[in-house]
């Protein structure tokens, strides 16, 4: 049977509707980012800490940041952080952490996570199920 792009889209929509997508997202975020250690915090937590530290550094450098309009400054800081693939967040690692050479590279991390072939397989499997079910439904209707 021939499928085309639209079917692709429809299937992915269905998949998302079933909630698999969000689950994946959550998993990635909440998984410990460092596979080696056991008691490491989830990725999310790490990220937050990183961000907070960065901001504190910035404030220390320039005290006036606080006194300004908070919304504005936060937006500005945010944009600066996100720039260049989270370069600021990445580089901080070298200074603050005493632990050796633990690189905190956000985008790399995410990328690696996504490239995981296991992940792909899981997705495929789920898609398969979804497709079957959807086709079953379609058949049921007609």
């Amino acid at each position: 049977m021939a499928y085309d792009e639209e079917d692709c889209r429809r299937l992915s929509d269905k998949y998302k509707k079933e909630g698999h997508f969000d689950k994946l997202k959550r998993d990635i975020l909440s998984n410990p980012w460092d596979g080696t250690e056991e008691h490491s915090e989830p990725f999310e937590q790490m990220l937050r800490e990183r961000v907070a530290n960065t901001v504190k550094e910035m404030v220390k450098q320039d005290e006036e940041l606080i006194s300004k309009n908070r919304g504005l400054t936060s937006a500005l800081i945010e944009s600066q952080l996100v720039k260049d693939n989270y370069s600021k967040l990445n580089s901080k690692n070298d200074k603050s952490n005493d632990d050796g050479a633990k690189k905190f590279e956000l985008d790399v991390y995410i990328h690696s996570k996504l490239q995981d072939p296991k992940l792909l397989e899981m997705i495929k499997r789920q898609l398969q199920e979804t497709l079957v079910s959807s086709e079953g439904e379609a058949n049921g209707h007609t």
């Binding site: 992915s12 907070a52 504190k56 940041l65 309009n69 936060s74 995410i110 996504l114 997705i123």
Partner: protein
């Protein structure tokens, strides 16, 4: 044609002759004249004459001897014959005969009617019998005198006395022809005269219209224009006398083309046609077979009052407007026609047929397509893989004029965002100088999303392809816009640029253009399909992750981190710093105060009493003014103004850098010119700045950061280091240098300085000496002069000085009050030279009274003593301002917003009408409950004593020109009542007239009952005018402002009384205007 002239019979005879012989019978004879030979004579005269010259009859009469039995019948029968000749009398004869009995009939017997000759003898015998019965007649008037005069008839003889003297007019008088005559009024010798003309009955009458030789073969040379074409007659309104069917009031609207892929709502059609008239019936028709809308509509118009003409007119207009080109509604063309001869059904059936046909076609094509596909499918399967051609979107685009495909310029890609676009090239647009507004206007019927003006042309963006296509189909090549360069309408062609992809992406930037698949890819196997889907999902996941991180994680974290609570040390440090600063500032101020006080103490005490500090205040003011210039310049350097946001973060780093610059700048200055002056300015400016700085507000809402204050401190320190003498900072403000062109004395000028004419009082002299320096100089001056002291004069001198001092003070007070209340100082005449009592009685002219009596003043001076209830007028003008100000100064106050705009009034009116309708429905008296609309528009005004006359009306707030102020309310009376009242009031002594004419029959009387508008006085140069407007169907008098009126200004308008002839009736006008006419009437 002349009129006939009737001549009355010269003699009508009622005469009686005494008859001697009653034997005559004339009755019968008198029938003879009814021979009818002359019956056709028109003239009565001729009739009568006829009788006279009927010799035949007379002769017969003479011969005869038989008489009618009635003696008196002769005369009677005379009447009878006479009467018998005229038609009317014939009947009376017959009547009389019927009445005949044995009694005497006064008139001749019935036999008289019948043919005379045969019955004559019988008649004679009968009349003789009758005559015998009656007594003989007594003739009384047969005296000679009378006989000669009158035309008597002898009853005894039976003939006229003057018979022989009579003759036929025919023979004698040649003037009148035998056949008759007529009289014509002719122009003879310049006069109209009556001419007698013979009648020629044999000549046929001629049609005078054909005379004068114009008549030629029946062709009449008429003076009417030969019309080449039919004349347009006005439409005759249809009423109950009209014949034929009533004019059509319905129109049928149907789509013009077959492109009926319409998604038009019925309501838009209805609204479109509403503008032609009131719609009573609107019907949309659906296809009976498919229940789809046909978009055929029947609209019936009606008119508010039910007249069919209005409705017909609306329908006619609606059709006429769209006769040439159909109407455009929402991008689709419709035709509009009148529903005559029930054409509606034809149209509907037509459309139904079309639809059926279309359906059939569709079905056939579907079948064919299916067959084809089946074939294709087979082929494909045989071949295996196949790449189908990219499907063209099912549109019939207008071919592009140029060969290459039009592209949307890159910078517009984001704006256009993958939507269909109509393009008009720039060359074309520029040549004719078209603008977007032209296109906007012309294409307003279509649902265009956006109009873009670009260097390559004009782009019209649509959200939907269908819209774009319909628009281009309809308009391209047909739309004309007036060219601005050539001033002729130019046809416009649009190029339709279709969207490139099916999916619209939000960010259509260059990166994503090549990415998304141009052609839909087909996946043969499931696995492939699933794999592809999985990849898609991964991509989505990545995007989603990033977004999530940004939004949910980073953002809030940053925000929270910036909270002040996180940095307690910082905050603490901050606070300490600020406290320090505040203390410093406070100490500074305290120092300044101390210095100033010292300064005051240094002055001579006596003069200090008389306002030394006051003067220094003034000096301060002046100093401030002169310093502001420098200050502003400084400020500009220091204030950062508007900056782009990105620099905001950088600001802090910059400010630190800038301060040393400024510092160095100042230090440089102070180094170069090491004079007191410069330092003074800088230090004083720094003082000023400091004070300003604490008031300044930053953009941030949190505590104000004062980089300037840091800077100032730096400056201060610099300056203070540099200056060696501390006195410089401490010198009183008075002595500080000023930046003026010419050197000024330290003390401000006194009154006596300004007015040289005034004599100096000892007080002034005392005040002149201000400080030690002056005393010193004075001493020097007077050192040579030795005073001669007279013992006596000591006390007097003292008294005199005291007196003069008192007087001066009093005068000063009085003049101050005068100026405060009345605006101008006293006139010189009013100034008392000696004691008031000593002056005696003198009359002060009215002109002078204006100066100090509030109700006497000229109205052109704005009134400022109007006391209204709680409000006190606190208007105390500045001296200088008063001198300059003109009388109309309040008008340049801030223009007030009009309290009720026209729209407000209109909505109020509607609201009121609703209320009234409701109240009417309820059934209560609407008059009582009606709201006086005009009340709402009333401006705040108040009555008070007037400068013109007695009481007047004053405006409390300023009023803009052409605004309604107040309504003239009063009793509404008729004209005669008004006249009566006017007289009565005059008799009662009410000199003022409060009668205001509405129209020629109605007058409003506000004498005893009315609104405060009755207080408005007359002026020959008014600032208001009265107008009559209709509110709720009734006429009302309303006062409008002619020009802007200031607060507390008296309202005046022109009464427009009629000019009185009598000089004593004229009333003098007290308005005081420059162009006053002098009289009210």
């Amino acid at each position: 044609m002349s009129g006939y002239y009737r001549r009355t019979h010269p003699s009508s005879g009622s005469y009686r002759h005494s008859q001697e012989k009653p034997q005559y019978s004339r009755s019968g004879q008198y029938q003879y004249p009814t021979e009818h030979s002359y019956q056709q004579y028109p003239s009565q005269y001729s009739q009568r004459r006829r009788y006279n010259h009927s010799d035949v009859s007379r002769r017969r009469y003479n011969d005869e001897h038989s008489h009618s039995p009635t003696n008196g019948s002769s005369r009677h029968s005379y009447y009878a014959t006479e009467s018998s000749e005229s038609g009317a009398y014939v009947n009376s004869n017959s009547d009389i005969d019927n009445r005949r009995g044995l009694s005497q009939s006064r008139y001749s017997n019935n036999n008289s009617h019948i043919a005379p000759s045969s019955t004559s003898e019988r008649l004679r015998t009968d009349s003789a019998l009758l005559l015998q019965q009656r007594p003989p007649p007594v003739l009384r008037y047969n005296t000679d005198v009378l006989k000669s005069k009158f035309h008597y008839f002898d009853p005894t003889k039976g003939e006229f006395f003057n018979k022989d003297k009579m003759f036929s007019w025919k023979a004698a008088d040649k003037e009148f022809s035998e056949t008759g005559y007529y009289v014509v009024k002719e122009l003879q010798d310049g006069q109209y005269k009556f001419k007698v003309k013979h009648r020629h009955p044999e000549i046929k009458a001629l049609d005078p219209r054909n005379e004068d030789g114009i008549l030629t073969n029946g062709k009449v040379a008429s003076h009417r224009k030969c019309r080449k074409s039919l004349v347009l007659l006005p439409r005759i309104s249809y009423d109950r006398y009209s014949l034929g069917p009533p004019p059509p009031c319905e129109i049928v609207v149907y789509p013009a083309q077959d492109s009926t892929t319409t998604s038009i709502q019925d309501i838009s059609i209805k609204n479109y046609f509403k503008k032609y008239g009131e719609i009573s019936h609107f019907e949309a028709f659906n296809d009976p077979t498919s229940a789809l809308p046909l978009h055929v509509y029947l609209i019936k118009y009606t008119s508010s009052d039910g007249s069919i003409n209005e409705a017909a007119k609306s329908a006619f207009n609606a059709v006429r407007k769209h006769e040439l080109s159909g109407c455009f509604i929402m991008g689709f063309r419709f035709e509009v026609i009148l529903n005559k001869h029930s054409i509606l059904n034809d149209i509907i059936s037509k459309f139904v047929e079309i639809n059926v046909k279309n359906l059939q076609k569709l079905q056939e094509s579907m079948k064919k397509a299916k067959d084809k596909e089946a074939e294709k499918g087979k082929v494909k399967e045989a071949q295996g893989k196949d790449i189908s051609l990219p499907k063209e979107p099912k549109v019939d685009t207008l071919s592009h004029s140029s060969g290459h495909e039009k592209r949307i310029p890159y910078d517009l890609l984001g704006v256009v965002n993958n939507r269909p676009v109509l393009h008009v090239s720039k060359i074309f647009v520029a040549k004719h100088r078209f603008r977007i507004e032209d296109f906007k206007f012309k294409l307003r019927g279509y649902r265009c999303a956006r109009f873009i003006d670009h260097t390559t042309g004009i782009y019209i963006v649509f959200d939907d392809i269908a819209h774009a296509q319909t628009c281009s189909n309809a308009e391209s090549g047909k739309l004309t816009i007036m060219s601005r360069s050539r001033r002729i309408p130019i046809l416009i062609k649009f190029h339709l640029i279709l969207p490139r992809f099916q999916n619209r992406t939000r960010f259509n930037k260059s990166g994503s253009l090549p990415i998304s698949a141009h052609a839909p890819i087909k996946y043969e196997s499931r696995e492939e399909f699933i794999g592809a889907t999985a990849k898609q999902i991964l991509k989505d996941l990545e995007k989603a992750l990033h977004v999530d991180i940004k939004k949910r994680l980073i953002g809030p974290t940053v925000f929270d981190t910036l909270d002040h609570a996180n940095f307690p040390e910082l905050l603490a440090r901050r606070e300490i710093n600020e406290k320090k600063k505040k203390q410093e500032i406070a100490s500074k101020i305290a120092e300044d105060e101390l210095k100033r006080k010292e300064e005051v103490k240094r002055d001579f005490d006596l003069f200090g009493l008389y306002g030394g500090y006051a003067k220094s205040n003034k000096r301060n003011l002046k100093r401030r003014n002169s310093l502001t210039m420098d200050h502003n310049l400084k400020r500009k350097k220091l204030s950062k103004g508007i900056k782009p946001m990105a620099h905001f973060l950088n600001e802090e780093t910059d400010s630190k850098e800038s301060t040393p610059l400024n510092d160095s700048g100042i230090s440089r200055v102070s180094k170069v010119e090491d004079e007191e002056d410069e330092n003074m300015t800088s230090s004083s400016s720094s003082e000023e700045e400091e004070e300003e700085v604490t008031d300044k507000k930053f953009k941030s809402e949190s505590e104000p950061t004062t980089p300037e204050s840091d800077h100032l401190q730096a400056v201060k320190s610099l300056v203070s280091d540099q200056n060696e003498s501390a006195d410089l900072l401490d010198t009183p403000l008075m002595y500080k240098p000023t930046a003026t062109e010419i050197p000024e004395p330290v003390y401000p000028p006194e009154e006596y300085d300004l007015k040289y004419s005034q004599a100096l009082s000892p007080l002034d002299l005392q005040n002149a000496i201000k400080d030690e320096e002056d005393i010193h100089i004075l001493k020097q001056l007077l050192s040579s002069y030795t005073p001669t002291v007279i013992s006596n004069t000591g006390a007097i001198l003292e008294y005199k000085t005291w007196k003069s001092r008192r007087q001066a003070l009093e005068e000063q007070k009085a003049s101050d009050w005068q100026i405060e209340h009345n605006g101008t100082s006293f006139d010189s005449e009013l100034q008392p030279t000696c004691s008031f009592k000593a002056e005696g009685f003198r009359k002060i002219a009215d002109k002078l009274k204006v100066n100090y009596l509030p109700h006497r003043r000229r109205i052109h001076q704005p009134l400022n003593t109007v006391n209204i209830h709680n409000e006190k007028n606190e208007y105390t003008p500045d001296l200088s301002q008063r001198e300059e100000s003109s009388n109309k100064e309040p008008s340049d106050s801030i223009p007030q917003e009009v309290s009720s705009s026209r729209d407000n009034r209109a909505s109020n009116r509607r609201f009121q009408q609703d209320i009234e309708a409701q109240k009417a429905a309820i059934g209560t008296e609407s008059e009582l409950l009606s709201l006086n609309q005009l009340n709402k528009r009333k401006k705040p005004v108040m009555f008070a004593r007037s400068a013109i006359h007695n009481w007047g009306l004053y405006a409390l707030d300023s009023i803009a020109a052409k605004e309604m102020i107040i309504e003239y309310v009063g009793e509404r009376i008729r004209q005669p009542v008004a006249e009566m009242r006017e007289r009565r009031y005059l008799k009662n002594g009410i000199g003022s007239s409060y009668l205001f004419r509405v129209d020629e029959n109605t007058v409003i009387d506000a004498t005893k009952k009315g609104g405060i508008a009755r207080f408005i006085n007359h002026c020959c140069d008014p600032n208001c005018t009265a107008k009559i407007i209709k509110v709720g169907g009734r006429r009302r008098i309303v006062i409008y402002a002619l020009r802007d009126i200031g607060a507390s200004e008296e309202l005046t308008y022109d009464y427009k009384f009629e000019r009185e002839k009598d000089d004593e009736e004229r009333l003098p006008c007290l308005c005081g205007a420059p162009n006053c006419k002098g009289f009210l009437n």
